[in-house]
């Protein structure tokens, strides 16, 4: 019989053993790895990491590098356009599908399937479709519009929008699904009440439904933003960063610096900047979402 109190450390022993992978991951990989990278971003690490402090040199050099500045600019353009368009498209599609339509499952399945594909596959398909020699441009010219030009992947000015087209195609299904779940989660009595009150549908969406879907919007926002910051494979597959360095992005900059240019310090500084960007979105969200949850018991 348990007449002596079991040792606190070994109480619930199996659960603690089961949690070891989580604890190791959380402490060593997530906290440890992140701290390590931040620390080494203040060093002059080149081919190999070494603790030779250079203060903010890596960051100064980073912000003096044209490739990084273009990467940031691209991320901003891509990110902002993606964010706006993916929400608009995703929400409108969800609202249309929510009209008790026929073939709902088929339509939903078709809109979402790109999300199951890898970015590499997505990038390569759109590289092919946007190929000016054979793709859309060629088709339209074939229809008789000889001067039509649509070659985003070969025009440095608009190349990032070529990526955007592919990104939207791949990612809008996800937003649509989440928005649809949000719409379905709204009490149908709200619609009945709005109808009795004679409020037009668009107004009901704008003034009643969308505000009610705030939590869905916020979680979707966080998912989309973290996805945007991580964008890498799509670029590599679709343009390889080109033409020239027209479609470089921070994630690719980090990879190139670390594993191609043997300039670890730059890679660490650049990835720390990426972390900062994500933190700017995630931390306010976390405070908003979980800040008051302590009282909820």
């Amino acid at each position: 019989m348990a007449s002596t109190r079991p040792n606190q450390l070994f109480r619930n022993k199996s659960a603690k053993i089961a949690a070891i992978p989580m604890i190791v991951t959380a402490l060593f990989v997530f906290v440890g790895g992140t701290a390590w990278t931040i620390v080494y971003s203040f060093t002059s690490s080149g081919l190999l990491p070494r603790l030779k402090w250079v203060g903010l040199d890596q960051y100064e050099r980073l912000w003096d590098t044209r490739k990084w500045l273009i990467s940031i600019e691209n991320l901003a353009i891509y990110g902002l356009s993606m964010l706006i368009l993916v929400f608009v498209i995703g929400f409108i599609l969800a609202a249309l599908i929510d009209q008790k339509i026929r073939f709902e499952n088929t339509i939903r399945t078709v809109i979402l399937y790109p999300y199951a594909l890898s970015f590499v596959v997505t990038g390569l398909v759109w590289q092919w479709i946007l190929n000016p020699e054979f793709g859309v441009q060629n088709i339209v010219r074939g229809w008789g519009w000889e001067t039509f030009t649509f070659d985003p992947l070969y025009n440095a000015e608009i190349a990032i929008f070529g990526i955007l087209i592919a990104g939207l195609w791949q990612g809008s299904g996800l937003v649509m699904v989440l928005m649809l779940a949000g719409l379905r989660g709204i009490d149908q009595d709200v619609w009945k009440a709005a109808r009795v009150d004679g409020i037009p549908a668009w107004k009901t969406y704008l003034l009643i439904v969308i505000p009610m879907m705030r939590p869905v919007f916020i979680t979707t926002l966080v998912l989309v933003v973290t996805g945007i910051v991580k964008i890498y494979d799509l670029i590599v597959a679709q343009t390889g960063g080109g033409p020239g360095i027209a479609t470089e992005v921070p994630a690719k900059y980090v990879y190139d610096m670390m594993f191609q240019a043997n300039n670890l310090g730059q890679g660490f500084a650049a990835s720390t900047m990426m972390l900062l960007t994500v933190a700017l979105v995630v931390i306010p969200w976390a405070i908003l979402e979980f800040g008051g949850s302590k009282n909820r018991g």
Partner: protein
């Protein structure tokens, strides 16, 4: 050793919140004890502590003379029945009944005979090969009781076992649990928020509030001599009428009424000049021909009538307070009608206005 379960100075806190405070409770062998209270009073928590499903912060729990404070639930010699039945959905009824016995590594023949006996007692033999999803609510709860039964233990713990059933089934199973207790004669600790269940089943009731036991006693005592205003208000439906006034010169003064207290059994003699509350149960108010026998009579005007079939509840005003009277369902009364009611202070309860304790 006549006590089956002894709880000594039990404390339980979650963080800074004290859920159970210095709680003492002895439960005799074969006793049916009901823990009664509104939600959040700590009754289920106490039961979970007895079962070993919650670790206590202080104090001791003894079952059958053994200190089980730190023992695993399965080592405590208890069986438990839950509100949601908690049957393992992927196992058959037989599997559900034998799961604990298999864990205890009992011989196969022993498991079979115990399952057979329990299913005979509960009349669930035809269901043994079915999955819980194919059973009705009442059948599921029988299986859940069976799961406690096969453990062959002295102490049964019930955590609101009937709350998920509809009213009629609840009444049927209530009777069955009582019958089971009569035939098995083991200790049962039963948590509920339903006072009818408590009154009908219990040998003793423990009324809980804020992690403490307010009153522990037989259903009669709890109903007839509540120790404080909370218990008085909690027990009884429709609930007790309360009038606030003053005890002075052997009478209770409220408004211009003076109810004589000569028949009232004070615990420590009659106080004088004390602010107090008198509690009168609606069913103890006398009407009709018997009014003349009552110790005190007053005329009221009927303001509302609620017929329930067997009884009729009549609302009126006594000394400016809302007051309810229970009359026979056959009585003919109408709103606005003048009515003479009688009050017998011997059946009433008096509480100190400040401390709310029984006088």
């Amino acid at each position: 050793m006549t006590n089956s379960v002894e709880i000594k100075n039990l404390d339980l806190q979650f963080g800074a919140v004290k859920v159970l405070q210095d709680l003492n409770l002895d439960i005799g062998k074969g006793e049916f004890l009901v823990l009664l209270g509104s939600s959040g009073c700590g009754k289920s928590t106490l039961l979970n502590c007895i079962a070993g499903l919650l670790d206590v912060s202080g104090g001791q729990i003894h079952i059958n003379g053994t200190n089980v404070t730190w023992a695993e639930p399965s080592e405590r010699g208890i069986g438990m029945v839950f509100q949601s039945y908690a049957l393992y959905p992927q196992m058959t009824v037989e599997g559900n009944l034998s799961f604990g016995l298999k864990n205890a590594k009992l011989p196969k023949s022993e498991i079979e005979s115990r399952v057979k006996r329990a299913s005979e007692i509960l009349q669930i033999e035809p269901l043994l090969k079915r999955k819980p999803a194919a059973l009705s609510g009442g059948q599921r709860q029988r299986v859940a009781i069976g799961r406690a039964l096969v453990r062959d233990v002295d102490v049964f713990l019930f955590d609101e076992p009937l709350s998920n059933l509809d009213a009629k089934l609840r009444a049927d199973l209530r009777v069955e649990i009582k019958r089971l207790h009569h035939s098995l004669q083991n200790t049962m600790i039963y948590v509920t928020h339903d006072q009818i269940e408590a009154m009908t089943l219990a040998d003793r009731i423990a009324i809980m509030r804020g992690g403490q036991i307010m009153q522990l006693g037989s259903p009669d005592e709890i109903y007839g001599r509540p120790v404080n205003k909370y218990v008085a208000d909690f027990i009884g439906s429709p609930s007790m009428n309360f009038l606030e006034g003053k005890i002075k010169d052997g009478a209770f003064h409220v408004g211009d009424l003076a109810i004589p207290l000569a028949d009232y059994a004070f615990a420590d003699g009659a106080p004088n000049n004390l602010d107090a509350t008198i509690g009168i149960r609606p069913e103890h108010v006398v009407t009709g021909e018997l009014v003349g026998n009552a110790a005190y009579q007053v005329d009221v005007e009927v303001s509302l009538i609620e017929p329930t079939g067997s009884d009729t509840l009549v609302d009126c005003t006594v000394a400016g307070n809302h007051f309810r009277v229970r009359m026979d369902g056959q009585s003919r009364v109408s709103v606005g009608q003048k009515l003479r009611i009688g009050i017998n202070p011997s059946m009433a309860s008096l509480f100190d206005l400040k401390s709310e304790l029984r006088l």
